[in-house]
Symmetry: C2
């Protein structure tokens, strides 16, 4: 090999230069801001539309605001960002593409559904560690109203929600990554997911569809790094909700009986005990918003090592009408205070 070998196994790589997360900018919906994590978000939306002509325009506005917020908070100029990596849930990731239109930054469009926050951080970290960028932004967003319309039913239909339904988070998060800076949360290794499919076909039971992908990536990460779950102060999945989280614990109970000690799901946390959301939160914005709490807790010393693992379901309505099941993926990012 010409290059230093950074591979730890079939899915895990080391980042010897340990790229840093310098900050995050977040925009959250009203319901999200009223939840237990509200204090961590930068911008609170007044309502789901905020005088925009469509929910799609509002979603784009959220993503733009998140990107501009992290640049402002970190005193970073647009021209110092070498790549922006973004994706979202909408067809042709229009929130990301139209946000990139107003930025003079090379754009890498990603699609990982709700796994996008971990996917974009993963690729950005590798570009920095590989010497291609000094700074990069990884960002994503989701909006309850655009996602429900596109993936399930228009909200105006007033379709009843099921016990296993999840509530797409209205939120955007933009993370600024850079070459290592002392005293900041740093990316030490990554486990990139493979697509798994456990034959779930119900879009109202996404936690069950995504849980096996999360369990696979987590188990692979632990095996390939030689770590036990208690290496981390916190292991996070993106948006499995309460049933999906249960499934992960059951799938891994033989190997890791104490996993529940330090394993949380962002989807179970975002709305606290709000019963109206049924099984919990979902959407790209869910783990993106939770990242604000992770970084805050790492800065204050509450957390030292976190495994951040966003989970995504890779279907679309057309292919489910054609009787397909839902393939899923999970990407894991190890964030540590060194």
């Amino acid at each position: 090999m010409n290059n230093p070998n950074k591979r730890l196994g079939t899915q895990t790589v080391l980042l010897p230069s340990t790229p840093s997360i310098l900050g995050i900018g977040t925009v959250a919906g009203k319901k999200e801001t009223e939840g237990p994590l509200g204090i961590y978000f930068d911008v609170a939306m007044a309502d789901s539309l905020e005088n925009n002509a469509s929910w799609e325009l509002e979603e784009r506005n959220m993503l733009e605001t998140a990107v501009n917020t992290v640049l402002k908070k970190t005193n970073t100029l647009e021209r110092d960002i070498h790549y922006i990596l973004m994706g979202d849930l909408l067809n042709q990731i229009i929130s990301a593409s139209y946000t990139a239109r107003d930025l003079a930054i090379p754009f890498i469009g990603l699609y990982g559904a709700c796994s996008t926050m971990a996917l974009s951080i993963s690729v950005a970290s590798m570009l920095i560690d590989g010497g291609f960028a000094e700074k990069a932004v990884a960002a994503t967003c989701s909006h309850f109203c655009t996602a429900e319309r596109q993936y399930r039913y228009p909200l105006e239909m007033g379709v009843q929600r099921m016990a296993s339904s999840q509530w797409t988070a209205t939120g955007a998060g933009a993370v600024l990554l850079s070459e290592h800076v002392e005293g900041t949360p740093s990316i030490t290794c990554l486990t990139t997911g493979r697509v798994t499919d456990y034959q779930i076909e119900d879009v109202n039971n996404m936690g069950a569809a995504m849980a096996p992908a999360a369990a696979n990536t987590l188990k692979t990460h632990l095996l390939e790094t030689g770590r036990m779950p208690n290496y981390y102060d916190l292991i996070l999945t993106g948006d499995l909700g309460k049933y999906g989280r249960e499934i992960v614990l059951r799938l891994l109970c033989d190997e890791y009986p104490h996993l529940c000690d330090n394993y949380k799901d962002c989807g179970c946390e975002l709305f606290g005990n709000d019963k109206s959301v049924k099984a919990g939160a979902s959407g790209c914005g869910c783990s993106a918003l939770y990242m604000a709490k992770v970084l805050s807790d790492m800065k204050s010393g509450v957390l030292k090592r976190v495994l951040f693992m966003s989970t995504g379901a890779l279907h679309n309505p057309t292919i489910l009408f054609q009787k397909e099941s839902i393939p899923c993926i999970a990407h894991a990012v190890a964030i540590e205070m060194l």
Copy 2:
């Protein structure tokens, strides 16, 4: 900086280890195979459906076949591929995601519309040069029938085509990249695009929408590498068609009056002089299929240096109904025999 600086400018990076393209697998539609490039394709489709229940299933089948073909042609095992990077035109890139489901390879989903071939090769090359992979596959596909239904009208409507309309190529291409191997076409540098928007709103005039993005990326590439167009034996854009190609030549005629000597557009070449396609070919599959000819010509010594630049339009129908214009992007990959 901790890392070797590989940056040549705001959008261009060097790949000091010059990752190689070891081969390509292609699947082409009937019309594409009957065109002047037919001899370069590995698998010819019998018709647009090939006994599948839907065009979406056939499109996935094409992509799977392209990936399996390149593995077979290069005697490569699935387990030796460290990442597969794929995207396509369909909502939530389902062709790519469902193809990845059957492969035990870490999957990075990309969305760059018709720029996906160059985008996936770019990111794969950086992962290899950065030391994260020894081998990676970059792949994409498009299908005339799925794309027309999704972006414009169902084919059954029989809508009349305009002079500036382009014909979405039915084709899939999968490129195997690896660490440098002597005597193979190698990636020496990359220019990653920024999103540009010249306020075109007409989905039947995509060449005009994409041409400014291609011109911007090309000009930036030449300035940042200090090269003139004649450094390359061939400069290729992805799918601008005959009007888009004209616009690129006009936009750059002051700086590069001789650009037309060695500049071709894959969209103008794929179907030869077939008048039924109107302004030319388009789609992710267009530049992916043309890559088969590029690699063949490099192997036989006809070409030594090629700038391969796929172009993509990043809109969706919903956002155009909301009166938006079409943002576009182009990514450039320099491929050289060293």
